[in-house]
Symmetry: C2
Subunit: 156 residues, 2 copies
């Protein structure tokens, strides 16, 4: 295992990671967009529902933070989702400026279907991997996420 660690190998790998990650993102982005549209959602709406469902609801500001969007943008997105019957909100009685936004039954249903469709496709994608390789793929994705988050500081 006496691999020679040349600086250029790191450089080369970093460049290859750029290519691979770019390709990965583009493919999965398009795939997700198609799936979402097929289930009557936009990508942002699907993200928003994911956040709302994973936390039993959110304030608008919290949702904006989670989506990394301006609260004005988020406000309009939530308004649109309300119009389409995907979310509902109430005013917490102890702070009547705020909204407590939750997914509606319809929102939950659509997001659930979308998620299941993508998971089904993932299962097809992973089917021919050996279990250990599957776990490896997932672990590596998670690590890259963690490291990118940690290295974060993207807005210095």
């Amino acid at each position: 295992m006496a691999e020679r660690r040349s600086p250029s190998s790191l450089q080369r790998d970093a460049a290859e990671l750029y290519e691979a990650a770019t390709a990965f993102i583009r493919i999965y982005q398009f795939r997700d967009r198609d799936h979402a549209l097929r289930h009557g959602l936009t990508v942002v709406q699907a993200y928003a529902l994911d956040i709302l469902l994973s936390r039993d609801g959110q304030r608008l500001t919290g949702l904006a933070d989670a989506l990394q969007l301006d609260k004005s943008t988020t406000s309009r997105i939530v308004a649109g989702m309300k119009r389409h019957g995907l979310v509902e909100w109430t005013r917490p009685e102890h702070d009547r400026r705020a909204m407590w936004i939750v997914a509606s039954a319809e929102g939950k249903r659509r997001y659930g279907r979308l998620r299941r469709a993508i998971v089904r496709e993932n299962a097809r994608l992973l089917a021919s991997y050996a279990p250990a390789a599957r776990r490896g793929a997932i672990t590596i994705l998670r690590q890259l996420v963690q490291r990118a988050e940690g290295a974060g500081a993207l807005r210095p």
Copy 2:
């Protein structure tokens, strides 16, 4: 290594791939958007330049196909890039309806800087992996891309 292959393990892995891939995409998307904006490009403009530079130019229709966008959208994007001095085009003399779109010097410069910035960040990200693990990460991303492309048929 006598791992028991239960159907539910594939299901579970598929669900975990969903979580991991979603997180990955969101992180890298934001990262790329920040980088692009910092270099005076939007994400779509960066994609377009990537395509134009990797092929010595493109027809509008070819660019639309590569970007998976409607040609009307692509037309406006190219118009915007022209306005911002990122691309230029000529009319091939054998078909004067068509455009041959190429990146301008400025477009090339900005894309190059953007790419190098991301590769630098990737290098930091990968630095603490053992070389073999780095290669593994890249290989797996590539495989997932290939399989997703193959399984493609996203628009049946």
